[in-house]
């Protein structure tokens, strides 16, 4: 993997910067996913949080390709992300082709060209909030320093999620998780509308919203709500 001495400080700085400004957890989670890919020289990363039914839901991925989202989504009840959330431990599957656990997840991950996977928990003061999942393009041993780096990034994001629930209590934390899940659903609804409006892919629709949110210095979630309520169209972006 790449040299964490150069990539990791940049990733930490990006996340820490987000924490001291006004931010939305979905945007922070996208930043976490992309920073993790850079810092660990990985193929893809995704952030999942647990919903009220005890299933993990995708809130962000480094790559918005529908198939990539699907391989994270497959981990609602199985896979390294799920195991990491349940155990509160880092999970390291260095060679997916030799992996017997999680058959549905492993088959799809291999089809998409991922050879290794690891996951670290997102947790705050004893509350398991979800996990951060990283895919590698070739089978290799993820080093303990890679896992530490991923956990450090995940911890910063967990602090971010908890900070929005301040003063922290389980009920407010649950409310923040809920807001993130519905924000993500709103983004998917808006992607569908934009894809039809502009005749583009769902992935391109996300990029369009994301770029527009940056120029407007707004949260992607806010832009998604404006799209759904027809205050803004693809053309206006």
């Amino acid at each position: 993997m790449s040299d964490p001495r150069t990539e990791l400080p940049a990733a930490l700085a990006t996340l820490a910067e987000a924490l001291v400004t006004d931010f939305d957890f979905i945007d922070l989670a996208h930043s976490l996913a992309r920073s993790t890919v850079d810092a660990l020289d990985a193929a893809a990363a995704g952030v999942m949080v647990v919903d009220r039914s005890g299933e993990l839901q995708v809130v962000a991925a480094s790559d918005e390709d529908t198939h990539v989202l699907e391989v994270f989504e497959l981990q609602r009840r199985q896979g390294p992300c799920y195991d990491s959330w349940v155990t509160g431990q880092a999970i390291n599957a260095s060679d997916l082709s030799a992996q017997a656990a999680w058959p549905d997840f492993t088959r799809r991950a291999l089809e998409l060209g991922y050879a290794s996977a690891c996951a670290v928990p997102l947790r705050f003061r004893g509350h398991g909030l979800g996990s951060l999942n990283v895919f590698g393009g070739s089978p290799h041993e993820v080093t303990s320093s890679d896992l530490h780096a991923a956990q450090a990034l995940a911890n910063l994001a967990a602090v971010g999620l908890a900070q929005q629930a301040a003063p922290v209590n389980p009920r407010d934390l649950a409310e923040e998780v809920e807001t993130a899940i519905h924000g993500r659903i709103a983004i998917e609804q808006a992607k569908g509308m934009l894809a039809v409006q502009a005749g583009i892919t769902l992935e391109a629709a996300f990029e369009l919203m994301s770029a527009y949110a940056r120029t407007k210095q707004a949260f992607v979630r806010t832009i998604a709500h404006e799209v759904v309520s027809r205050q803004i169209t693809a053309e206006q972006m």
Partner: protein, 235 residues
């Protein structure tokens, strides 16, 4: 927060044993028995403000919703305006400062605690569910988790009713809702744009079509995304 994957199924089993009343009324009774609480109500919103009571169970819930609609203030209005959960564990003049007249009326009726949960799905806002109690104090984590799960079931049920699935087996539909898959929401957005309709209508039409064709919602969603299925205004 102690999520239990089987809790939703347990609640559906309990729901099946509640026989009297329409689906939403049964869900209110489910809340009374399972949270537990003394009253529950489902309030629908239209154009961003509370517009009517769809169902309620328990006298105290009726008192609360009547006071809210008579006076145009209350936790349903507050939750709709802020798009947040409203929780008052100890009702008194200071904790009900945002809706003082309704606060006084419900206090007089013996109500001591109210939790008002938004009914939402992504950018869709349907209304709120009230959980009303005569005893003061916070809901336990488990009771709160149960209230949230029942609010989810109510959200699904309202969407089913909007889909015009009047003769469907709701208990069956609720156990396989499909709203936990991202592609269902992507497809809903596409259908809303194709038909030029609002998101709940698009969702209702997809649901009705999937039901009519005997398809899981997520499979129909895949067909929509792959442009293998047409939606027209006649659907």
């Amino acid at each position: 927060m102690s999520p239990d994957p089987d809790r939703r199924h347990d609640l559906l089993r309990e729901l099946a044993s509640i026989e009297h009343g329409d689906l939403l009324e049964r869900l209110c009774k489910l809340a009374i028995a399972q949270v537990p609480c003394d009253g529950a109500a489902v309030v629908l919103t239209a154009q961003g403000i509370p517009a009517g009571v769809l169902a309620s169970a328990g006298e105290c819930a009726r008192v609360l919703t009547e006071a809210e609609f008579d006076l145009g203030e209350g936790p349903a209005f507050e939750s709709t305006r802020t798009d947040r959960l409203v929780i008052v564990d100890h009702l008194n003049t200071s904790t009900t400062a945002a809706w003082p007249v309704v606060g006084a009326l419900v206090l007089q009726a013996g109500i001591s605690a109210i939790a008002t949960l938004p009914l939402r799905l992504g950018a869709i806002r349907l209304g709120v569910a009230h959980v009303v109690r005569l005893q003061p104090g916070p809901l336990s984590d488990d009771a709160f988790a149960t209230a949230r799960l029942i609010a989810d079931l109510i959200t699904d049920a309202v969407l089913f009713l909007q889909a015009g699935l009047v003769n469907a087996d709701f208990d069956d539909l609720l156990s396989a809702s499909g709203t936990d898959r991202l592609r269902v929401h992507q497809a809903t957005g596409m259908v809303a744009e194709i038909l030029g309709c609002q998101m709940p209508d698009a969702f209702a039409r997809m649901r009705a079509r999937a039901y009519a064709e005997g398809l899981p919602l997520v499979d129909l969603a895949t067909q929509v995304i792959e442009r293998e299925v047409e939606f027209s205004h006649d659907d």
